[in-house]
Symmetry: C2
DNA sequence: TTCCGAGTGATACTTGACTATCAAAACGGA
DNA sequence: TCCGTTTTGATAGTCAAGTATCACTCGGAA
């Protein structure tokens, strides 16, 4: 039987409240403000469960650490700032993606990633 | 002064001749047909040099091993087969990618990755 | 309140991709 | 051909992300 714990609550709330994907370390930092002493193993254990349950998505982008975010969000893609290395959500999508497929190939899902400078890094460059 | 060696020649020719990106192990396998006993360290050393010189691109996709391919190819994107885990080039691109950018963000480059079943895996499923 | 299985935190371990080390072999100009 | 320099192959090491282990603590039904 699964217990309800302060740690799990805190981790889920941090992810659910964030407007952007977070790294495991960032999740730990934020959740530790509620549950001090929170261990990284607990963060990874909980993330694994949440991913298995489909509540959380594990996001891997070339050039960035793995990030995690709530799956309850609308379809979107990512922007990776090459200066500050932060990952940002970009709402919206493009039409015509299946046109890229060669004959006989079948699309299940797609990813679009834009690399560049985020608003903050462009401004204060 | 840089020597010209059979190993480097073989590695470059394997990459240049391939229509698809290759993993370091695949490059070793193919190049070893010309230079037997070719070591994996030599493959990685050579790949590093070729990437630094801009001759080769290092391709990281979520869910796949790192791949390498010649940079002398036309702009294109990738397809990752979730069954056989092979990476395929898809020629062409989409218009309107910069429209996804939030205000103040600046695009340097982009990636599009489609996940699904390749022609071979669709046919023989 | 008790009590036992689930959960936690610290930390050692694993895994995969890649790098460092070093003795031996290969290059290639003289 | 000689010979100093570069490169190679084997292998040990590194690094980061994540997992396993285990003693201790917590959750919550009875």
């Amino acid at each position: 039987m699964a217990y309800k714990t302060r740690q799990r609550d805190a981790i889920w709330e941090v992810i659910d409240a964030s407007a952007q994907p977070l790294t495991a370390q960032a999740i730990r930092q934020r959740a530790a403000q509620r549950v001090k002493g929170l261990g990284i193993a607990t963060v990874y254990r909980t993330l694994k469960q949440l991913v298995e349950e489909g509540q959380v998505k594990h996001i891997e982008l070339a050039g960035a650490q793995p990030h995690y975010e709530s799956s309850a969000r609308h379809h979107h893609h990512f922007f990776l700032c090459e200066k500050c290395k932060h990952v940002f959500d970009m709402m919206g999508c493009l039409r015509g993606i299946p046109n890229l497929l060669p004959k006989g190939y079948h699309m299940r899902r797609h990813e679009i990633v834009i690399y560049g400078d985020c608003a903050g890094c462009s401004t204060f460059a």
